[in-house]
């Protein structure tokens, strides 16, 4: 372990980067950095990584299973040669200067030898202690020796000293010892001591996430008095199929199925008595919980959802909110409950003011979910002291410049990402994580060593098969049920098998060496391991094969533990028979396996940024800072994009022109080629090798970044915009505010929100930034002597400090009228707009307002070039017309096409900090991609047998990645699959009517050989 080498001092490992916190943000940052070649120390306080996201059931708006999309990243981080995972550890000191920090880390003892633990869990089964499991938000139990969850990464058990009987007196006194006895690997050792590690790090990333506020102090909501009142996180665990109730929605008080639910928003958030900020994610996650709850428990008939402003601001969120309303039947009530008490028949009574009548009302429900504020994670002040950085008064780590730099802390070389600097959803957190990665990377200089991937050893596919079979006991885990010896003996008699044996632990280090020797000695040319699951262990065994000079694709696994001994423990004979079958199938597949070679393609280590707005500029800067070549292309004659239309910026009040000037100066100080007044006309090629045609030149580039922004279109035909001169847009008004002129005493400026956004037709989503803009403008207008009114549907000031702005505007006297969702404002006048008519949903009556100026907040729409570029680059567009990201949660910066990235408003509307974070984040991705002069293409792709192809085009329709391409030459039409684009899913192969397509490594032959042998008499 390199960390240990650091303590002894020699040889000094390269300066690394310290990442604190192993949630999705920390993991993302670590992976980006590791791939870019930096040494990463990822320190996590708890026994396993995954953080909050690992606790979630589903992610919205797609209702993707959270752990399904997260765990591949966790495993990747665990196995990455550049990443040292230090779990159950804490940073205790940080000294030195940026670029040359010395960090001290305390690695707490698990009392389990990390190297030996195989994660079988026998110990936990015998532990006599039972305490609430933090991971289950207190709803499930665990022993004193435990893993937080079944899919824990790393899967190593931990003894929690606080609760272990042997430490009852504080120090070790042998009392129990049951776990140590039960452990098949003798991995438990009560005398293992804490370890102090010293690390040389160039920079630090803080990704410590958030905690959920305990709502107990809010007495009127009665949390803690009644079992059927849960917090949002507790409810999330209940919904999780792997959670304490197995996904069943029940009343904790008696285990019965609830028929009605109340959801209460903003518990402790947007409340100056507790936390004045908006927690940013609750509105929609509760909608998701309603949808999932209904799915898991159709008996629930009523969902009473109490909210203040529905902040469904992300991509697809507005539509998701409507889905909750229309499909699940959630009853959205704009009101904050006054109290929750015990009602009749064991129900809970929620009292509130009915917004429809403005009268007190109440409803009795079975279960209440309080969506509590996200607060800075426990230990933030201590960690801040250790790191020498500041915290905000709301408890989160402080950003030095929240507007111009969304990741820099108050200490140089220390960066913040994810919820460490304030509440955030998953895509914003991972974008920031990458951004922090890009910044941190700039401090390691040349101390980078990207993981080299040389060519794989190749074997002659025609050689007579000599299969080696290794059957694992996994201690007692397999052998306790399955007769591993008998399986190995059975395997030895199979055709083609040259060697078969059984091992106690096939995955242990010494067995790897043994396997390596046997492969060489016995001249094996195929290997089968019958053990646990290939999902976690295939990479390890493949590595062993490669080391032994065997092509790693000549390896197969039979899963006789997770999918056999563990699930058939009551029928050992059948389990043994099944294991034999699985081994036989694997051996026959192995016989048909072909060696595959990674294809290495040279790449052009340069990037091309499309769009010279603030995102494009920032992205180009951060790429150039890594020493890579960058070209920036802007279609207008000047740089700046949307920012050129802005005057003063929230929250700092800085002039937009100053920010822009500073960024352009920085851009110009770097070797970046800027082409203004240019657009791309054609693109060809693939990752690492794009050829881009401009008007007057051709460029080669390894990566393309779409930073093409958006455009605020004129609201033609809306609300008197065509008729009246004094009906203007936000950007027009921004110009009015450009000077310092006062307004006439009492001049009335009326802002109308969502003009052309959140509509049934056309742009259905929320434009995300307009509420903030109108609040800022209204406040400024009031300061300069005017009166201001904002007519809105919900005020969505969800951003960092956005809620403060909303409060300042209210306190300064800005009036707010919440209109109906489906009723427009009536703008009347003669030559000029004079009066406005609107139904005020708070007063429950029509109101009439006189106005001097009407400001229409219009949404940002995709820029004109989006559709054309999308077609040219084959990047799909969302239903909103913006470019579609690779994954709505975990891939906000990538597109479906490798080597093409996106940032800023090209993806969807965003404010400056979010755009900048994305821009820097993309730079990290590009840095990782271009860290080596080549890329290796996945070898298990599909190819077309030309003689059989009839060019029907079925595969072309199927493939999401546009890998198959119709081609033509003298002999006629045919399809060719571009290996660089193919991801190897094999769907095309199963659809090809002439079986012309072969899915390598999952060929028909290979699949069929498994079927055939299974039924062979």
């Amino acid at each position: 372990m390199t960390a240990k080498a650091a303590t002894t001092g020699k040889p000094t490992p390269p300066r690394g980067i310290l990442v604190i916190g192993g949630g999705v943000a920390g993991i993302q940052a670590a992976l980006d950095l590791g791939k870019a070649g930096a040494k990463v120390y990822l320190v996590e306080r708890t026994p396993s990584v995954g953080g909050r996201m690992a606790q979630l059931d589903k992610t919205l708006p797609t209702n993707d299973c959270s752990i399904c999309i997260l765990s591949p990243l966790l495993v990747e981080a665990l196995r990455h040669p550049n990443i040292d995972l230090l779990t159950y550890a804490e940073v205790t000191a940080l000294e030195g200067t940026p670029g040359n920090f010395k960090a001290r880390v305390l690695k707490r003892s698990r009392f389990v030898n990390e190297h030996d633990c195989i994660g079988c869990g026998v110990c936990a089964r015998v532990c006599p202690v039972s305490v609430p499991n933090e991971f289950e938000a207190g709803m499930g139990d665990r022993g004193a020796i435990y893993v937080p969850m079944a899919q824990a990464t790393p899967l190593i058990y931990t003894i929690d000293k606080e609760n272990c009987l042997n430490f009852a007196g504080g120090t070790y006194e042998p009392v129990c010892g049951k776990c140590a006895e039960a452990c098949p690997k003798k991995a438990i050792d009560f005398e293992i001591e804490n370890e102090e590690i010293e690390l040389d790090v160039a920079s630090v990333i803080v990704a410590t996430g958030f905690d959920e506020m305990n709502p107990r102090p809010i007495r009127n909501l009665s949390y803690g008095d009644h079992k059927d009142i849960l917090t949002g996180l507790e409810f999330e665990r209940m919904l999780n199929a792997a959670g304490p109730t197995g996904g069943r929605v029940v009343k904790p008080s008696d285990g019965s199925a609830p028929t009605s639910l109340a959801i209460v928003q903003c518990v402790g958030s947007r409340d100056e008595r507790y936390h004045s900020y908006c927690s940013r994610v609750c509105c929609v996650y509760s909608v998701k919980q309603c949808i999932v709850a209904k799915d898991h428990q159709p008996a629930i008939k009523d969902f009473h959802y109490f909210y203040r402003d529905m902040r469904a601001y992300g991509r697809g969120f507005e539509e998701f909110y409507h889905r909750g309303r229309d499909e699940t039947g959630v009853n959205f009530i704009k009101s904050s409950p006054a109290s929750i008490t015990t009602g009749s028949n064991d129900k809970l009574r929620v009292r509130y003011e009915d917004p429809a009548t403005a009268r007190p009302a109440s409803v009795d429900v079975d279960l209440v979910v309080l969506t509590c504020a996200m607060i800075a994670s426990a230990g933030t002040p201590e960690l801040a002291r250790v790191l020498g950085v500041d915290v905000e008064k709301d408890g989160y780590f402080k950003l030095k410049d929240p507007l111009g730099d969304p990741v820099a802390s108050t200490r140089e070389g220390v960066f913040l990402c994810g919820c460490a600097s304030g509440p955030k959803d998953i895509p914003d957190s991972v974008a920031q994580a990458s951004a922090a990665g890009a910044r941190a990377l700039a401090y390691v200089g040349e101390d980078k060593s990207p993981v080299e991937e040389g060519p794989l050893p190749m074997n002659d596919p025609e050689e007579e098969p000599r299969i080696g079979v290794f059957v694992c006991h996994c201690g007692h885990n397999i052998a306790g049920v399955v007769d591993s010896k008998a399986v190995a003996e059975f395997a030895a008699r199979l055709p083609g098998v040259a060697y078969a044996t059984d091992n106690l632990y096939t995955c242990s280090d010494d067995t790897q060496t043994k396997i390596e020797q046997i492969i060489k000695r016995k001249k094996l040319n195929r290997v089968v391991v019958a053990a646990c699951t290939p999902r976690t262990h295939e990479p390890l065994f493949r590595e062993t094969c490669t080391k032994a000079g065997l092509n790693p694709y000549l390896f197969d696994m039979a899963n006789i533990r997770d999918q056999c001994s563990w699930v058939h423990s009551d029928v050992p004979e059948e389990a043994t028979e099944k294991s034999k079958d699985l081994v036989r199938m694997a051996a026959f597949r192995a016989m048909n396996l072909k060696p595959l070679q990674r294809k290495r393609v040279e790449i052009d280590r340069s990037a091309l940024v499309l769009g010279g707005g603030i995102s494009g500029i920032q992205c180009a800067i951060d790429i150039a800072r890594q020493g890579l070549d960058v070209v920036l292309i802007e279609k207008e004659p000047a740089l700046g994009g949307l920012l050129r239309n802005l005057d003063h910026l929230f929250p700092s009040g800085a002039a937009a022109s100053d920010l822009l000037k500073a960024k352009i100066e920085e851009l110009e100080s770097l070797p970046i080629a800027v082409f203004k007044g240019q657009e791309i006309e054609a693109v060809d090629g693939f990752v690492g090798n794009f050829e881009v045609k401009l008007k007057d030149r051709e460029l080669k580039t390894g990566a393309i970044i779409l930073a093409t922004g958006g455009i605020a279109r004129e609201p033609k035909g809306r609300l008197g915009y065509d008729e009246f001169d004094n009906v203007i847009t936000s950007s027009d008004f921004e110009k009015t505010l450009g000077g310092t002129e006062k307004f006439n005493e009492g001049e009335h400026i009326v802002f109308i929100q969502c003009v052309g956004a959140r509509e049934e037709e056309g742009y259905t989503g929320c434009s995300r930034y307009c509420c903030q803009v109108s609040l800022k403008q209204a406040l400024e207008a009031v300061k300069r002597g005017a009166q201001a009114t904002i007519i809105h549907r919900d005020i969505r000031s969800f951003t960092r400090f956005g809620e403060d702005l909303y409060r300042d505007a209210r306190n300064a006297g800005v009036s707010f009228i919440r209109r109906k969702d489906d009723e427009d404002v009536d703008v009347r006048g003669n030559g000029r707009a004079e009066t406005l008519g609107v139904f005020d949903t708070t007063l429950l009556s029509d109101v009439e307002l006189e106005c001097d100026t009407v400001v229409l907040a219009v949404p940002l729409l995709p820029s004109d070039t989006t559709a054309r570029l999308g077609e040219m680059l084959r990047i799909p567009l969302g239903s909103d017309g913006f470019f579609l990201e690779k994954h709505i949660k975990l891939g906000p910066l990538e597109t479906n096409t490798e080597g093409i990235f996106l940032c800023g408003c090209a993806q969807y509307p965003k404010d400056i900090p979010d755009s900048l974070a994305q821009a820097s984040g993309v730079a990290a991705k590009v840095g990782a991609l271009l860290s080596k002069p080549y890329v290796n293409l996945e070898p298990a792709t599909a190819f077309v047998r030309r003689q059989l192809c009839r060019a029907c085009g079925t595969c072309v329709d199927i493939c999401e990645y546009h890998a198959p391409e119709l081609k033509q030459d003298e002999t006629g039409e045919y399809v060719e699959i571009n290996e660089a684009l193919c991801k190897g899913c094999g769907t095309c192969a199963s659809h090809c009517p002439t079986s012309a397509i072969v899915a390598k490594h999952y060929t028909d032959e290979q699949i069929e050989s498994m079927i055939d042998i299974l039924f062979e008499k």
Partner: protein, 136 residues
């Protein structure tokens, strides 16, 4: 036939369903040992040919599982799988095999329980149906 033990071929996509099956194991959920699973990268890889071959060689049932709709690791492989299965069902019927012997199920990586129950139910159903008509 009280002691009839059906032989079932299961296909599971690597990203969700295979992981769900693993989770069933980690959670020690018990289900009948009648299935033999073939891992594929995506449920879209399973072709009518594979399914029919399994029946012809002796399978009493074929179980195909993939990620939930919209969760497919490759976008829409599972939607294509769904269509393939519909098509295959027709072929299966033409061969005189009861359609219940072919089952498609969406199982996520967190649905260990669902994997176990689905297998339990499927095995039970096949037991009711008895040996495959092609094997009688």
């Amino acid at each position: 036939m009280a002691d009839f033990e059906p032989r079932i071929v299961a296909f599971a996509c690597n990203w969700c369903s295979y992981a769900g099956a693993d989770l069933a194991g980690v959670s020690r959920l018990q289900y009948p040992p009648n299935i033999r699973t073939i891992r594929v990268m995506c449920s879209g890889r399973v072709s009518p040919g594979h399914i029919i071959r399994a029946f012809e060689h002796g399978a009493d049932g074929v179980f195909v599982s993939g990620c939930h709709i919209n969760d497919c690791h490759y976008g829409f492989g599972n939607r294509w799988a769904e269509k393939q299965i519909e098509k295959t069902l027709k072929l299966v019927e033409m061969l005189g095999i009861e359609p219940d012997r072919l089952k498609l199920e969406w199982i996520s990586a967190s649905e260990g329980e669902k994997f176990a129950t689905s297998i339990r139910t499927f095995v039970e159903r096949i037991k009711e149906l008895g040996r495959s008509p092609l094997q009688r």
